[in-house]
Symmetry: C3
Subunit: 398 residues, 3 copies
């Protein structure tokens, strides 16, 4: 990618009205359309700079806290890659999975880890009703510490997956779509099927499908949400997505089969998630450390799951997508039938055909995270990027 192209993106960025400095990136629907677009643009610029061997290192030193309250390899790598690209040093904060801290402890820890910190990435998706709340509590603590003059500067928080949204995933997914279809504006009128799919596991967070409908509904797309009875998402998020879809000139249909959703779809996103009520029942059990209760819940949830093994993205269902060539998406890892399990979310031949697409999709995440950090810390992102490009410092000596 040549420098001319990079400057074109920076110019486009300059035209966006944004107010992101000092704000946290927790839910895409808290950000204006210009701010969403700006995030895509910054991600594209950072990627283009790296590929043209122009270092986007903003910081000479600075800490990026990595707070994963649930397992993760891929998002951890994306976050570390993003922070390193900008010059930040990742320091893990291991609070353990079970402990849900509130009040004094959150306030104090948030401050103690932030004296020389620029960004805090948090994954907290296990407890419905708690992950987003926790992230906001950390944010409020930082505000107070800055106000009291205890911190010289406010770190920006990036939601690396909460109970409500998974914005780094959804934004990477849609940056992939923008590149695939030739621009984010090309998504207008496209049909996307966000559907539940069978998996021989249970308890997967709702935040991926919620993130997808919450973001797809900003671009005038025709959204089709499908899942078996009982596998509802958080009602407020569905309501919000409906409103957003209407406002953006798109539509939102809540349908009852994968087939209905796939019919004429340009994009399909078949993915397992736990039923809303199972997730609700799980929280008090997890809090109480009730292993027997959790085992019992898992057993009944898996038994219920098994009734819907036909919710598989197979070749037959793919034929009813647009021209039989709808774009398959997944946040990975997918449960692939006869590969990673006996019966799963997707048939092996379908996955095979779209493997590279899903890899490409994942490849946007580090840049999306880096863009969120940059925008949360620098008022005039276009100016900052311009300085970096003009500095013309190579990322690598050849």
């Amino acid at each position: 990618m040549d420098q001319k192209h990079i400057w074109k993106l920076v110019d486009e960025l300059r035209s966006k009205k944004i107010d992101m400095k000092g704000k946290d990136f927790l839910l895409t629907w808290e950000r204006s359309r210009d701010e969403i677009d700006a995030t895509f643009l910054v991600a594209d610029v950072l990627r283009a700079m790296r590929e043209a061997n122009i270092s986007p290192k903003i910081w000479d030193s600075g800490i990026a806290v990595s707070n994963f309250r649930d397992n993760s390899t891929r998002t951890r790598f994306s976050y570390a890659s993003a922070c390193d690209l900008l010059g930040l040093y990742v320091q893990d904060l291991d609070e353990g999975k079970s402990q849900i801290a509130h009040g004094e402890t959150v306030r104090e820890t948030a401050t103690m880890i932030s004296f020389l910190t620029e960004a805090i990435g948090i994954r907290d998706d296990m407890y419905l009703g708690e992950g987003d709340t926790y992230q906001r509590e950390v944010g409020k603590s930082l505000d107070e510490a800055v106000k009291a003059g205890v911190l010289p500067d406010r770190p920006t928080i990036v939601n690396l997956q909460s109970d409500i949204d998974h914005p780094t995933q959804a934004m990477a997914d849609f940056l992939h779509l923008a590149h695939h279809f030739g621009g984010i504006d090309k998504l207008k009128g496209k049909k996307i099927a966000m559907t539940w799919a069978y998996s021989p596991s249970y308890g997967k967070p709702l935040s991926v499908p919620q993130g997808i409908i919450g973001l797809a509904s900003r671009f005038g797309m025709e959204i089709s949400l499908a899942h078996p009875e009982g596998y509802d998402l958080i009602p407020d998020v569905v309501e919000l997505s409906k409103k957003q879809a209407a406002a953006s000139g798109g539509s939102f249909a809540h349908v009852h089969s994968m087939e209905e959703a796939f019919k004429g779809a340009d994009i399909v996103y078949p993915k397992s998630w736990a039923p809303y009520d199972v997730m609700q029942k799980r929280v008090p059990l997890l809090k109480a450390g009730d292993q027997a209760g959790l085992k019992e819940l898992e057993k009944s949830a898996l038994a219920n799951n098994a009734r819907f093994k036909d919710w598989e993205c197979d070749e037959k269902k793919m034929t009813i997508t647009t021209a039989g060539k709808g774009l398959y998406m997944h946040c990975l890892p997918a449960d692939i039938t006869d590969v990673s399990c006996k019966a799963g979310e997707v048939a092996a031949t379908v996955f095979d055909r779209y493997r590279d697409d899903t890899y490409r999709e994942a490849g946007y995440k580090p840049y999306i995270i880096a863009a969120m950090i940059l925008l949360g810390k620098k008022k005039d992102a276009a100016a900052t990027l311009s300085r970096l490009i003009e500095r013309a410092h190579g990322r690598s000596v050849d």
Copy 2:
């Protein structure tokens, strides 16, 4: 903070007689008063540089070993932040909590981790009589490896808490006091109450109170040490503090109640610690892995602790400090009554009033650690800092 102020600090640093290069920072009382003051000055310069967006990055590459033989989140973050600020990459050495290596193993490990290493931070505070010994053994191994030409350069050791002293904590505490009272010389004649406080836990190291009296006694302060019978500190450290207090024109009183200590105190530091004899009994039990013995010791220690629940820093006791406004200090986290426990070291309203002060206190630690590393590695710290300031490389691109 403007550059003029920074240069004033560097000039002041230039006037100090120091001989710290190649030495380890293990106990504050091994350092001359000029060296203590130089450490404060370097910390202040580094902080001022960072806040004026002048990068204090000394190293382009280099390893900083982090060897925590006891749990820690805050000191870990402080150490990582300090190292990153100077350009060092933190590499954890996990030797586990239980294993106390000596002889061949220490010598070999110390060398193997040091080929490209600039600093080694060690926390080893669980075993009375062993932490400081271990740190010195590592130091001796490094000396030998340098002498044999095996290492090109000697890494500097920073004591991140031993059984005897906690110099990064004590130094941060006193840099906070210097800023609070308008200069380290303003501490002369001020009364500081280092007192035991009740906590529903046991086995907390003695190194914090020892570090405080060992350092407070350098500045001509009126020290009042208070604790219930049996909660003695290491006798040698108390003796040394008495001598230092006398030599510096201050005083040292060993009193028997929190009230006596608080009376007319300008500064109060109420904090729980384990009784000396309990810590002594604990070492062979820990070494033998005698879980039953440890459980028994804990039970009796907690029962004994419970006799002293009135050793709480409450509103009533605060009224007898100077003008009822003595400065409350704590190394955090504090056991706050009705917040983190039913009965603790400090009343919630007292802690609330001083929360931001304790946060500010903690905020000096990364800079103190960075100063110790810089002084342990660079002969003429003022010259090094001058080069960094004149280089005028921004820490962050705006």
Copy 3:
């Protein structure tokens, strides 16, 4: 070391015919003699640059994955030091010890961790027949991802110990020998004894002795391999070493006692390893998680080991080496009689005399690893090094 000397090394490097970019460093015998020599030269240049305070930092940002599927402190530190020296940020990939992933999982993980990655270091030595296979599978996955345009660039893989070879160890060992004897060409005709030695443990990988004979046989050395009956190495590696020895003008003798091997040896490398058939039996037991079977195997293996306690490198055996002063080598940690165990690989007095030599030997490893990464990523290493030297950026501000 002065710059003139550094430039001489770079000039020598320029004369080597190499084709290492985009290739992985898995087995030394896959690399031509020029490529082996080039690796030594780059390591020497990097070390000389660092010691002359010329920063060899090639990358301003970039990830180096650290994938240790077996415990390690020293190689971890060497890898981290090497990566940091070049400017790469180490990110751990913890897949756990037991899980041997293949197929889809390897392909996907390899891609997911590589979007912004320059190097991948892998230690996988526990499973005979699997470690090298796994590393090649990762490499193939990376090739496919680059071909599909999913990755912008191919990370280079460094074998940090497989079931077959331990090239970073063997190369560091021989760079040490080159310095000790005044040049790699001085090794021609020198006798090296690679012999088994007794240790009160079992299951140590075969890759160290295999790496040593696989590399020693490139330089025209007289190799003497000795071990008790049953302690064979992988037959293919022994065969290959014999052929290489003949081709390079050296010799390869398979003898039956430590004494026979030591006789007239210029270099001795006494080290414990597990019998080939025990390693073979171990794989299915490990895979099945058969703890009882593993216990049983350990018991019989240790009993068998105990028959060979006289395979100790003691003072008496050292007297029969060349002039009684053969150079003792070990990859460390050694099992030292009466120090780390009651009866071990080496007598305490022998080890004492050569301790600093073994430390020096280990000190080459970070530079060997850095050289492998540089050569795997930069086509014209001499040109890259020239740019770094001419840039003359100090590693440390004085």
